[in-house]
Subunit: 348 residues, 4 copies
């Protein structure tokens, strides 16, 4: 790529926006040329307006960039959206109508009939769904953070054996709630056994992700999913305990082989954010652990452990996903890289 | 009860032993007359030998009691055992052979053919299994802390509809590992997705608890159970997310009614440690929470929440149990109270 | 007291307000007859309007009480104020002008020339400062939570030897910041080395508390104080590490004796919230600890430990205070009890 | 350096040993050729014997190295010692007598008259004290983790104005206690206000560090130091709140200038582990924070914040030090690098 593609970030001061900026500094293909936030911050230098709460300092290059309004008058054709769902729906539509490619992490358009919901290693072909959009721009979304980890771990099983049913219980990190998010008084010495809307997303989004694009629409997959979600006192890394009923019977050896040998279809594209290993399988019963393993593959590798027979369904295992990288900004970025590699951004 | 029954505590300096002492001070039926610990502490005043790590101070009455060896020469006929499983097996047998009633919280004898594994609200009739023991004493056990919470919540469903299968994922408290137990470096900002032996206990003990005492032996129940256990940064209170496949179909209303109207068979006995409510059902989606609700009913009430249809099995819910009270010392104490009420301690 | 004194609570839905309600249920002298909150909640049952976040459930008696506006038309003459400092100043003045006795935990009027800032065991005589107020009502305040713990521990030294200088470093609990207060993302695996305004309060309020009421005004004490404040991952209980330079030289024995033999002037009054022990002195180097000792004396006893010679100043020690009880609602309540015992509430 | 210097690690499986190995992989000057541990592990591959508990995986190169006994028969002349203080004293002496240079992080020999206690930026000249040792080898030590952070922050003030007295209160991280170290039950929702021996080290070691090497012995500095130590729920990074009485009066501007312009004498040597910035001064009142700033300068930079006038002494500030890097293994490594740069290792 001789010249970098200019990009903007919608919701740059928020939690996901900050993660986008960390991942986009020094990106080989993209260059951030516009940072957008709510009107009250328009015109301010980013460093003054943001409450930067990442563990690493804000990249110096962004400190003095002036914040712009979230209006489709940016010097770029590609925008990453980390907007809050209270405003994302309308603003993203506006950018798409104005000809922008909107790569969104927000939930608003995920289940729209003509909007691809994509995890590049799971359903890269769904990107073609954008052809159904009115244009001239387009909206592409990635799923909820917990869903992403789960479907990546399920993908090899889905391909090899099919899946009838999934039980999942999550132990989710605090960063998934944004900032300030969860009050310390709620989570110290405690578990919060509820995350608003989360179970619904985990039970519905995989049906679209594993669905079939046919005749310009998605045929939803038919597996049954049951999710129970919990918030725990962990900064980063969602841990999920999963049980699966396969559509075809399989031995534990076949199941293990399917996971270990899994190579996603996008492998050959060698996308910049694609990890060396999509799924890392642990045999040590103490792994994966949120604090120790969430950064595997720069936060893009999903960890699987505790692979064993399930006395009730067929097979059970644990999954760990870096919720703000692979499960949010990094997942969206990988979508954009895949689109670039497929030439989908050329016409903009 | 005109005169209190003298009791001893085996393993009095340990984690469960300390809990026994908290629950037995001012007990209306029992009076602690002997504290036993490992040989190296024999003769020392309890207050000097113990590393008391409960949040409330050690009851003054015990501070100056001299520790005795764990030998069956105590001025009582009833002992509570909080011994470590590395030594509990042999010592408990020795006391039973010497004519003591041993109420044990240790795992060693739980699955012995002639040893009752009892939760008073679940299978009080199993106590008769002691008749199979060689005598003159007896051993009675209670299950693992996580199992106790789960089977109490399952009991109304078992009675009303039968149970085919159970999926459970636990978020267990640190006190379950004893002291010093889990290193702070392992659990701060983390989850430990493994507790040695725990999943096996949860998958096997309920089969005995829901089994049928017939002809002097237990016919094991046949349900399938799948457990995945995690340690989280919580001091007290195991949270469990459960899904159940019933043997007979039932509406959510019928299921809710079964739980809400559950009244254990021991209800009429009005045992001192029996809580006003065996199961408390929450409707608020934020409940139950470990820190806020583990002390319900003085730690003897089990909390259930999130009762809803399970898309994969039939019904799902959360359970919270105070792991060191109802799930350990309190559970054992209730066993002893039930035995006293049934006259089983008279002959000692 | 034959008939209970009716009282109202201003800011009843807030953090301090909830604590007032816990302490006032079943109070022998006071009876809550009015709960006041912001206008948007007026008319709602308390149980519906409040986000009750205490560990124990909201007392049933308050659940259905209708919230009233913070206006001086309540069926009582005494109000406790847990109002946020953004509104407390004006509302409290309004109640005082209307003839109410306002017992406030807010900082707004603390340093007013005619408003007593009182800790009953430290400067009970300062209550007479209300005579300087225009009337017909009055405002009485208690100091900041960290200050209260410190001055109670300093009081015996002040009385016996005088104090020239105080160095204090605090490790403060999360509940001091109210709810939602500190974000979990800020405090997990971390310390926040700053609490806005806190160091200034700790450096100035003791000067008034140890000042002399003379001719209708307070002669400020002249000691120098240096405070450094930190927030740590603890729910309740401020720990403070203090070093003191005395005005007169004293041996460690004399210092220890002064603390151990300290008996506050209000001792004889036997106020309902007065703890059996005002200061509990620990010799065990592992004590006091926030989680284990903050509830001592129902949260009204201040713990002191680590009493030893200071190589730089004269003596050093640690202090632990229950910040939301002794350091806030309980401190204010004790002020009101003292006023009642002195007959100051009779004329209202 | 054309050829790397072979080095051994004593106590390689321990907490400090693991940190040495992380810092020594790919070191430009040193190459690990021997790993030593207790006898029971001799002969085992490192990867099998170690309980590796760092957040990053153990460097692959060490996994198959065979553990050796801690005996002076290693194929190197330089050893780093992370031995437990229960055995370090004798073993280190044995290696020194056998001609090894022992760079130790243990406390045993720190205060020996002929053993240098060195922080390279503070007292590099003290290394010459090894000339007083009997030879043929030598022992060089670094101070306690908390001391290192404090003396680095004090050094500019000491040089510019002299220091009369220091008050320090610490909030220390869990990793300082080794593994398993602090029980999670002791620190969750709590502070432990005591660390055995720590206050004594902080009050005595700086006197040697700021002492003067004269005629083959150290003239101890005469400042008075008062330390109060606490353990908090933080993984890495000791925070310290410090107040200082200077020997000569100085304005805040002069003090700030002294810190900001501080350039250690070893600066020109450009040692591999020497950070770009020895002291980083923060102006933001929310900094430094343990989790966010302990890794500054690869864990070798000390952070200072909250610089302000002290109403009791002269100046106060906060210090943050990465306790296991700068405060332990990294500090020792910098000592070795300084010795290499000065040619002290040539004769071995």
């Amino acid at each position: 790529m001789e010249q970098k593609i200019p990009v903007g970030i919608l919701g740059a001061t928020g939690s996901v926006g900050q993660k986008f900026m960390q991942l986009l500094q020094d990106h080989p293909w993209f260059e951030v040329v516009a940072l957008c936030a709510s009107d009250k911050n328009t015109g301010k230098p980013y460093g003054q307006a943001v409450n930067w709460f990442q563990n690493e300092p804000c990249p110096a290059v962004f400190m003095d960039m002036r914040l712009e309004a979230c209006q489709p008058t940016l010097p770029c054709r590609l925008v990453f959206s980390g907007l809050d769902s209270s405003v994302a729906g309308e603003i993203e539509s506006e950018f798409a109508r104005a000809g922008y490619a909107v790569i969104s992490n927000s939930r608003n358009h995920r289940m729209d009939e003509d909007v691809p919901l994509v995890v590049p290693e799971v359903n890269p072909d769904h990107l073609d769904l954008v052809l159904q959009q009115a244009g001239p721009g387009m909206i592409v979304t990635n799923p909820n953070c917990s869903t992403i980890g789960m479907v990546l771990a399920l993908k090899p099983l889905w391909d090899a054996f099919g899946i009838d049913a999934v039980q999942v219980v999550t132990l989710q990190a605090l960063s998934g709630a944004g900032y300030p998010g969860v009050s310390s008084l709620d989570i110290l010495d405690n578990v919060v056994p509820f995350i608003s809307g989360e179970e619904g997303k985990m039970e519905s989004e995989p049906l679209k992700l594993f669905g079939k694009l046919d005749g310009g629409k998605i045929d939803m997959a038919t597996m049954r999913i049951s999710a129970q979600c919990n918030r725990v006192a962990v900064q980063d890394g969602h841990l999920e305990r999963v049980s699966v009923k396969l559509a075809r019977s399989a031995t534990m050896e076949e199941i293990r082989y399917a996971i270990e040998s899994f190579q996603p279809a996008i492998w050959d594209l060698d996308l910049p954010s694609s990890p060396a290993q999509c799924i890392h399988l642990f045999d040590d019963p103490l792994s994966p652990q949120p604090r120790k393993h969430h950064k595997l593959g720069n936060g893009m590798t999903v960890s699987v452990g505790h692979l064993s027979e399930c006395p009730v369904l067929d097979v059970k295992f644990s999954v760990l996903v870096h919720n703000t990288v692979r499960g949010a900004a990094g997942g969206a970025l990988l979508n954009a890289e895949l689109m670039a590699a497929k030439g989908m951004l050329n016409a903009l």
